[in-house]
């Protein structure tokens, strides 16, 4: 049987969900027998999101233009997209800047008011991605096939959610073990 082509992407998040994924420890050996990691910030060194991906885990909220572009690309080239962790599912901590009313007050506060010696706004089109005015959860921007909440979802939850998928089954995403936020 051909291996499942797996990708993971990291948008506006702290990488905690990816770290939790690595917490799967020796189960990762079993996992590696069934999947090919074709794109991942922690599992490969490929720069461009490939075509024909079977499953993609999306960590992080959609916070800037680069996030949005990568997410749309991933959606287009992936069969089954999983919103992975609270930032992806609810926008979580990154979205706390939404309450300050848009990206401008946030940038001004960080780079001008708190700037030490040469306060200036970061501006390098094509290099530094522009912040979106609002941080949004993944499913508000593209269609999502499954949700794994948690900040981060612990390794057991990740395993219980993705192991059935490898066998072509749907996991039972109910109860405290599987869907607790936070």
């Amino acid at each position: 049987m051909a291996k499942i082509r797996l990708a993971t992407i990291w948008l506006g998040g702290c990488s905690g969900c990816h770290m939790s994924f690595l917490d799967l420890d020796e189960w990762l050996f079993d996992f590696a027998e069934k999947v090919d990691v074709v794109f991942s910030p922690v599992g490969s060194d490929i720069k461009d999101y490939p075509e024909n991906v079977d499953v993609c885990l999306v960590e992080g909220a959609v916070a800037n233009e680069e996030n949005l572009e990568l997410l749309r690309e991933a959606r287009q080239r992936t069969k089954f997209l999983i919103s992975f962790g609270d930032c992806a599912v609810t926008a979580n901590v990154p979205a706390m800047r939404n309450m300050l009313g848009g990206s401008e007050p946030v940038l001004k506060r960080c780079y001008l008011e708190l700037g030490d010696e040469h306060p200036q706004l970061p501006n390098f089109p094509g290099i530094v991605p522009e912040l979106l005015d609002r941080v949004r959860p993944v499913h508000e921007m593209v269609e999502v096939d499954m949700y794994i909440p948690g900040c981060p979802p612990d390794a057991n939850r990740i395993r219980k959610a993705i192991a059935p998928l490898l066998e072509g089954q749907t996991p039972d995403m109910t109860g405290r073990d599987m869907i607790k936020f936070g």
Partner: protein, 238 residues
Amino acid sequence: MSVKTLTIDGVPIAIEEGTTVLEAARQNGVHIPTLCHLEGISDVGACRLCLVEINGSPKLQPACVTEVAEGMNIRTNTETLQDYRRTIVELLFAEGNHVCAVCVANGHCELQDLAIEVGMDHSRLPYRFPEREIDVSHDRFGIDHNRCVLCTRCVRVCDEIEGAHVWDVAYRGAALKVVTGLNQPWGAVDACTSCGKCVDACPTGAIFRKGSTVAEMERDRDRLEFIVNARKDHQWTR
């Protein structure tokens, strides 16, 4: 004292007149989810999570403020109700700023528990991200309006058990909020006895003890019921 006979989820029961549908269900081992309901204080039907279907009534009725009646046929867990309950919880999450990951009540929160219970793995409604305040002017406690679900438990517990009536509800619609005194900073309200009953009553991380950190704060829910029983039935121990 007269007795009413009715059915809940097809099971016939007989219960004292004046009992609410919620009490009747609980006494008969039927679980109905609630949020604004708290043992020991009055019911107001604010959260609508306990809505039930009653034969002959075109509207869904809140179980906590509906009294049992002869011949009632009540259904507590239909697909429609399950769908509405999940939507209500999603509305609550989308309406405020409930960031569980950085909340003192993470792991000990009734809203979080409800999300699990109704099977909410994401919100189908767009988040509002309203701009709200935090008041930490009180010596020992604080209120974070971002996490308030407007259940008014604090209002009722302060009025009905402590008798201080520090808390109230102000404004309308999306601007609705609980206030202390006449919308003064909590620390400036002389009527507050610092008893902490509102802290124990709050279902989320909105009213908290100062110094609590993420996931650290647990509440003593039974304390309020105990005080009521102590006064009414002279049960002084628990």
